[in-house]
């Protein structure tokens, strides 16, 4: 009868103990690194959450629907900032996604000579290298005066809708949206371009092989194949747009009065935090923390929604 081979059955080509140690060590190291990301995230959330507890107890959910911001009477509500955050982020993406995706298609689908395409791609990427404080200055001194006639035109023609009901007069939500467009455009373009370049050449040939036109191939085959990576880029941009502080603070007007109008000064959560944290004390600090919790939850919800849509939209290749 044969018994099971002993554990040290292999005597040839046995791996030295050091090699096994390195293996184990490496595995532990990656585990630590991976866990540290989660731990930092959790720590941030707990800190902010515990700071916000007082304000949560005092204002409850009313905080989300009222717009008083009154340190004298200690009345706080974040409606202006929440509205501003959502409106600036969503509208800036609605403008930036078509432009960015269009640019990406333009520079990946040999519509232009190679050199020109590379140049456009490079310029878009350089846009991402501009510090946001510089963009903020540019927005105040160049962009906003330049677009004011156009905003006035919007007011005179569409003034009957609540969104354009006020006279544009300098800083406001609309210029903040436009500067966000400038800031997220390079992200969307670069990620979409990489996603489109990664679509296998065979898939393109297959599309042309059944007799599609160029546009048919792009919209029916190439974009669907790239959509999940492109959505990843859009989400990254949405995070950036919701969290962007400096340039937005400089141009949005940091208003304490709620207005639906895009032409009026507004506020965002990030911008409010940046402006007020320095001189806040007591329950105002807690109220700001509460606003930060709201921002984190918003970002989280948006991300989950995005993951879900991506999964529904995309067939893998």
């Amino acid at each position: 009868m044969r018994s099971a081979p002993p554990i040290d059955a292999f005597t040839l080509r046995r791996r030295p103990p050091q090699e096994k140690l390195v293996d184990i060590g490496f595995r532990q190291l990656t585990l630590v690194l991976a866990a540290s990301v989660g731990i930092v995230l959790l720590a941030i959330f707990l800190t902010v959450f515990s700071g916000a507890r007082e304000a949560m107890a005092t204002f409850g959910l009313k905080f989300l629907t009222t717009s008083a911001w009154d340190p004298v009477n200690e009345e706080y509500g974040a409606l202006i900032a929440i509205y501003g955050t959502l409106v600036t982020a969503i509208l800036s993406l609605l403008i930036a996604v078509p432009i960015g995706l269009g640019t990406a298609i333009f520079i990946t689908e040999d519509l232009l000579p190679r050199r020109l395409r590379d140049l456009i791609g490079l310029l878009v990427e350089l846009l991402a290298a501009i510090p946001s404080v510089v963009l903020g200055l540019w927005a105040i001194f160049v962009m906003e005066p330049a677009i004011r006639p156009f905003l006035s035109l919007l007011h005179t023609t569409l003034g009957w809708t609540p969104f354009f009901a006020t006279e544009p007069q300098g800083p406001g939500t609309a210029p903040a949206i436009l500067i966000l467009v400038v800031m997220v455009l390079p992200i969307i373009t670069a990620i979409s371009r990489d996603a489109l370049n990664q679509v296998p050449i065979e898939l393109r040939q297959g599309a042309y092989g059944v007799g599609t036109t160029r546009w048919g191939a792009i919209f029916n085959v190439i974009l669907p194949a790239a959509v999940s990576s492109i959505m990843g880029g859009v989400m990254l941009s949405l995070g950036r747009a919701m969290g962007e502080t400096m340039a937005v603070t400089m141009i949005i007007g940091n208003s304490l009065n709620f207005s639906v109008s895009l032409l009026a000064p507004g506020n965002t959560i990030s911008s409010m935090l940046a402006n007020q944290f320095g001189e806040a004390d007591g329950i105002q600090v807690s109220a700001l923390m509460y606003a930060a919790v709201v921002l984190m939850i918003l970002t989280f919800v948006v991300n989950v929604l995005a993951q879900w849509t991506v999964r529904r939209l995309s067939l893998r290749y």
């Binding site: 040999d110 190679r114 296998p200 065979e202 898939l203 393109r204 040939q205 297959g206 599309a207 042309y208 092989g209 059944v210 007799g211 599609t212 036109t213 048919g216 029916n220 085959v221 669907p224 194949a225 995309s314 067939l315 893998r316 290749y317």
Partner: protein, 269 residues
């Protein structure tokens, strides 16, 4: 027909290549090809790699247009027109001359949509369910697909994907189907199935197939074209040319060129 009415091509000829030279940039990949591809037959292109089989095949439905720098001299006559005439729209060419590629490349869509997509853009107005079933049956993959038409084309095995791609090409109702080494990524059983499919298809279509498998050429092809490549003086690489084009039997049993004999009997470098 009109002024461009180029040639008196015999009526049993599907496509006629007349002094075709194809270059990538300044590199001439294949030179001076004359060939009359017969209607309703299977023609195989064989030859060592790099001799320009794929290049010639892609020229037949203007897929080479997608490769920057690729140019063609000479004429490719199909249905009494030069496919490379300025007035010819390459998209229409590809709708009449379909293609199956070396690597299975289903679209990132459901199995059903993979078939329906091409048919729809080709203006198919009839019963789509029926067309999908008919195409999948012709490509001998209906049984494997019928219960999962809503699933991704990628849920199939490699051989099934390739037959899905054949079904996709059939669904656009082309007159000619080009196949570039359609079995090179497949196992022997899938290969046999696809060969059966080809026998089925040649009743209604003209087929040109590139293959590196000589047994396959013998099994499926009525006609065989043997290509070879030779280094030329002052050239940058090997230039491909058509050595011999004849009935498959003749090519394999009594070729007229020594290099053909060397190649088909496996005595080739």
């Amino acid at each position: 027909m009109t002024a461009s009415s180029p040639s008196t091509v015999a009526s049993d000829v599907c496509m006629s290549l007349q002094d075709v030279t194809i270059s990538y940039g300044s590199f001439e990949a294949v030179k001076n090809v004359y060939m009359d591809l017969p209607k309703g037959k299977v023609t195989a292109f064989i030859g060592p790699s790099g001799c320009g089989k794929s290049t010639v095949l892609r020229a037949l439905n203007r897929m080479n247009d997608l490769i920057p720098g690729c140019t063609l001299k000479g004429r490719v006559i199909f249905d009494q027109h030069d496919l490379y005439d300025k007035r010819v729209d390459p998209v229409e060419v590809r709708r009449r001359i379909g293609m199956v590629f070396q690597k299975p490349n289903p679209f990132p869509k459901s199995i059903y949509e993979n078939i329906a997509f091409g048919a729809r853009i080709n203006g198919y107005k009839g019963d789509m369910d029926e067309l999908v079933e008919r195409s999948l049956r012709k490509a001998a993959v209906w049984d494997e697909c019928k219960d999962k038409l809503k699933e991704s084309g990628f849920s199939l095995s490699g051989g099934q994907q390739q037959r899905l791609c054949i079904a996709r090409a059939i669904a656009t109702e082309p007159e000619v189907i080009l196949m570039d080494e359609p079995c090179s990524a497949l196992d022997p059983i899938s290969t046999l199935k696809i060969e059966e499919t080809m026998h089925e298809l040649k009743r209604s279509y003209t087929i040109m197939i590139v293959t590196h498998n000589m047994q396959q050429a013998v099994r499926v092809a009525d006609m065989t074209a043997f290509f070879n490549a030779e280094a030329v003086e002052g050239g940058t690489g090997k230039v491909g040319y058509l050595v011999e084009f004849n009935e498959t039997e003749n090519i394999f049993n009594s070729p007229s060129q020594q290099s053909t004999l060397d190649y088909v009997s496996g005595r080739f470098g």
